[in-house]
């Protein structure tokens, strides 16, 4: 019988083909579920669409949830009016229905009990569970101060718990999206341009002539609008330059792929700056009018020639020159992309500063085809009492450090939960909303230790993630398809708003975040901070203030408003005041100099893998978001596990075969909890291995995801902290292969 594998052999010219997606024949035996009796497709006009915006990732694309006559969610389709998606959701958004239908969902509030030294969860009512949260938080506030309670959050629900925590008296609200992800670029951009990049990034890919990706793997990270615009750029014949030690999907579509030696990107960037300046191909008018510190920069990069960088990066000098000339030819319609997950080597702010400087030299910031001037819509907020003034913050745990961190550090709060002799007070309680910390923060063992020191921990989630197992109280949130949230007002070329409303009633005994936070606040005498009976009252009030209404938004889902901040780009010769110490775009950063950091980036070498070890590089797959979608049946169908990408030369050396399972051991002797499948591929360098983040779930409560693939965050034990803003550099870890299941002595 012909199988998909046979088919691939037929169609493959060279070695290394792999099929994503489903293989009907080989899967037949596996399927025991869902013997759906009616397969006939339902036409759209027999269903009711309800507006929503997606919660499977942070891009928050607006769409329509289609519900059939029986009240079942059939599909989710993008909203054509929404610039985040232009009517086309990504696989995760399309598969968002799997979040709703997942049978492993958290179903009722749970309270931890201990009997005969054994710990277990028992079902509880909302009233009982929230009472217990209130009692514990009050106790901690009385004993240690409310500031010893921290909120870790990701996603829409976190906003309500943020209000709650501020009302409670703690400013310690954090999201791993800063110190574990985009923080360095925000800090670098603020130092250079006086404002952060923000989300969605205002990259004007739609109109660019040259897109430069530094380790950013658009297309594998499905930042929807950007991927769509990149695809248009390919159609238009725009030049794409990708710098990556791996042939990423984006690299495969690029005119230039620079297969750089890992950890040397900054040297390449400085050489590009050198050529731009010394060949005189930078945007002189823009630099003259808008920037500060050009002369210092010119002197600084004097010796950073392409020949210098070649020895570091392995990228040939003529390629370095050719690529920067491509950028100059396209300027100002060129984007040196700031990336998103950029916490790599601990000097990431400096690397991103070099990216910012290069953009400034080509005048791309504020110009068509570079970065547009984003605008978001401002909705009026209801009057609430003033928040109590906290007497301490997470920053007190790090005196004199990380002053340029514009947001709280999740890793910093985690570390400051482990008591030390010299710290007056450590964190005593965590509220965790929608973020699976053991798979999100580096060094899983450290995160688990921190949690063990807590007096109290409450987790709000839709799924029984690893983190829920450490909670004292678990509160089941309903999915985004079953709830209202705040109106989406994220920035874009024009200001837009988007509504999320429930398409169906919450399953099980789950509740929306707004209700959970408000009810908890009421139990603690903080109800005035949630001045509405039902969230629809708030939304309707807000919308009516701006000439819309809940009724209108239920019909249209997305609404566009006119820009109020002026043009989408700087006008020719327009005077612009940047929010930096000099009011200019700072090529030489006064903020960094004041804090004792290099005011202009300096390349410093990073450790290299010891013999027999390979640098661990991780990234995204387009059908998954972090570790949160691994159990989603629709997306699990597409990708069940990650694999470790190994260059054929390395595979030969270790006698590793395609699809063989190996355990990974890092430089500190930490071994992956689960084995991972080998993918032998020419797409990766011989000094590195690659894996997709978010797999290797250890909890059995995730019945599909459990034990599938390996978890990179447990192998990331060498964390290189960025001294500028506290980001956790995670790409300085090296792994080797174990072909046999390791014994206990290895695990210890």
């Amino acid at each position: 019988m012909k199988t998909r594998r046979d088919f691939i052999k037929i169609s493959t010219v060279g070695a290394g083909a792999a099929a994503l997606g489903l293989s009907p024949i080989t899967w037949k035996g596996l399927n025991t579920l869902n013997a759906a009796s009616e397969q006939e497709s339902v036409s759209d006009d027999e269903m009711t669409p309800y507006p929503t915006y997606c919660e499977v990732c942070f891009w928050k694309c607006a769409g329509w949830t289609y519900v059939d006559k029986k009240g079942e969610i059939k599909k989710i389709i993008g909203n054509k009016e929404d610039p985040h998606c232009n009517g086309r959701l990504c696989p995760r958004g399309t598969g968002g229905v799997g979040m709703y239908s997942d049978k492993d969902r958290l179903k009722t509030p749970l309270i931890r009990e201990t009997k005969n030294g054994k710990s277990y969860f028992r079902k509880a009512s909302w009233d009982e569970a929230l009472d217990l949260v209130a009692v514990n938080l009050k106790k901690i506030a009385a004993e240690h101060g409310p500031e010893c309670v921290a909120l870790f959050n990701h996603g829409s629900g976190g906003k309500f718990f943020g209000t709650f925590l501020n009302a409670f008296g703690s400013p310690n609200i954090t999201a791993p999206s800063f110190a574990q992800c985009r923080g360095p670029r925000e800090t670098a951009w603020i130092a250079t341009f006086g404002e952060g990049v923000g989300s969605p990034e205002p990259t004007d890919i739609r109109d660019t002539n040259c897109l430069v990706l530094i380790g950013s793997h658009l297309g594998e990270n499905m930042h929807n609008g950007q991927v769509q615009e990149m695809s248009e750029a390919i159609d238009r014949g725009a030049t794409i330059i990708t710098v990556d030690p791996r042939l990423s999907t984006a690299a495969s579509k690029s005119k230039y792929w620079l297969p750089i030696k890992p950890a040397t990107d900054l040297a390449l960037l400085m050489a590009w700056i050198h050529v731009a300046i010394y060949e005189g191909i930078y945007n002189k008018e823009y630099v003259e009018q808008y920037t500060y510190g050009f002369d210092e920069l010119k002197e600084h990069v004097k010796n950073m020639t392409p020949e210098w960088a070649y020895g570091i990066t392995t990228i040939k000098p003529d390629i370095i020159r050719k690529t920067v000339r491509e950028m100059a030819n396209a300027a100002p319609a060129v984007i040196i992309h700031p990336g998103r997950h950029v916490t790599w080597y601990g000097d990431d702010t400096q690397r991103l500063r070099a990216v910012a400087i290069l953009n400034a030299l080509f005048g791309s910031w504020g110009n068509r085809g570079g970065f547009y001037l984003k605008e978001s819509f401002h909705l009026p907020k209801p009057k609430i009492p003033k928040y109590p003034k906290p007497t301490k913050t997470w920053r007190d745990a790090y005196p004199g450090q990380f002053k340029l961190a514009s947001l709280a550090l999740s890793s910093g709060i985690c570390d400051a939960t482990i008591p030390t002799a010299d710290r007056a007070c450590s964190f005593k309680a965590w509220i965790v909303s929608g973020t699976n910390l053991p798979l999100t923060l580096p060094n899983k063992a450290n995160t688990i230790e921190a949690m063990s020191h807590l007096d109290f921990m409450v987790v709000i989630d839709t799924m029984p993630m690893e983190v829920t197992g450490f909670a004292d109280v678990i509160l089941p949130e309903c999915t985004y398809l079953e709830r209202y949230d705040l109106i989406r007002t994220s920035p874009h070329r024009e200001p837009y708003i988007a509504l999320r409303m429930p398409a169906v009633k919450p399953k099980y005994d789950s509740k929306p975040a707004w209700w959970i936070a408000k009810t908890l606040a009421e139990k603690m005498g903080l109800g005035d901070y949630f001045p509405y009976d039902d969230i629809t009252d708030l939304l309707d009030w807000q919308l009516k203030q701006v000439g819309s209404s809940l009724e209108e938004m239920k019909r249209i889902g997305v609404k566009k408003f006119d820009r109020e901040s002026g043009g989408l780009y700087f006008q020719q010769g327009e005077e612009v005041e940047f929010n930096t110490p000099t009011g200019k775009i700072e090529l030489f950063s006064n903020d960094l100099a004041a804090e004792g950091f290099d005011p202009i980036p300096v390349y410093k070498p990073h450790p290299e893998p010891p013999e027999g070890f390979y640098r661990l590089i991780y990234g995204r797959a387009p059908m998954h978001t972090f570790s949160r979608t691994a159990n989603n049946h629709n997306l699990w169908d597409l990708k069940k596990e990650n694999s470790v990408w190994i260059n054929p030369k390395v595979a030969d050396l270790w006698d590793l075969k395609k699809d063989q399972y190996v355990w990974l051991k890092n430089q500190d002797g930490i071994v992956s909890s689960f084995p991972i499948k080998v993918r032998v591929t020419e797409r990766i360098r011989w000094d590195s291995v690659y894996m997709v983040h978010g797999f290797g779930h250890a909890t059995k409560k995730l019945s599909r995801a459990n034990g599938h693939g390996a978890n990179d965050s447990e192998l990331i034990t060498n964390v290189m902290v960025d001294p500028v803003m506290g980001g956790t550099g995670m790409r300085g870890n090296f792994i080797t292969f174990l072909k046999e299941k390791p014994g206990k002595e290895v695990e210890a």
């Binding site: 009796s37 497709s41 009517g87 399309t94």
Partner: protein
């Protein structure tokens, strides 16, 4: 009328959205699919290329699956769409064997199932679910006999290939290279 699809391999990122959208549009049970992604890697580091293809039934002009079907369940409708009438299918699997593209699967309910080019959507003037969802807009669909259709326009100015032309099935998926 002759429906066909062109797939731009230069734009496809292999995200699998077409697969999920097809599953939710057509109630394809978990563990099965009517369309899928193939990735080919050629060359050796750093001179490597990859080709990504969103694949499905080729709705062949000369379709072996229709010819070999003992009950007539596999048939061709207007526009050249190859379909299976579920209640006429006895699940013998002859069509699965005959298809050089592996485009068919046995549905757990006992019949053979495959891509329909979303004919239920075409009737309503919509395009297929996969075409309408694709974030990279790399799928072009339409009537080959209409020079202004998306697929005709896509094929006009680009090089393309079909898969397994040697099988002589006259497939109607065109891969832009």
């Amino acid at each position: 009328m002759r429906y066909a699809m062109a797939i731009d391999t230069k734009k496809c990122v292999g995200c699998g959205d077409c697969v999920v959208a097809c599953q939710t549009e057509n109630n394809v049970p978990h563990g099965y699919c009517r369309d899928w992604i193939v990735e080919n890697v050629n060359g050796s580091y750093p001179n490597v290329e990859i080709e990504l293809r969103s694949e499905r039934c080729n709705h062949c002009d000369n379709s072996p699956c229709v010819r070999c079907c003992p009950t007539g369940a596999s048939h061709i409708i207007e526009g050249g769409i190859v379909k299976v009438t579920h209640n006429e299918c006895i699940g013998c699997g002859a069509c699965i064997q005959s298809c050089p593209y592996d485009a068919r699967y046995s549905h757990p309910d006992g019949y053979v199932d495959k891509c329909t080019f979303c004919d239920h959507r075409l009737e309503k003037g919509q395009s297929t679910a996969c075409v309408e969802v694709c974030p990279t807009n790399c799928l072009y669909f339409g009537d080959l006999e209409d020079p202004n259709s998306d697929v005709s326009k896509a094929l006009k100015n680009r090089k393309w290939k079909v898969l397994a032309p040697e099988a002589g099935t006259k497939p109607q998926l065109y891969f832009l290279t």
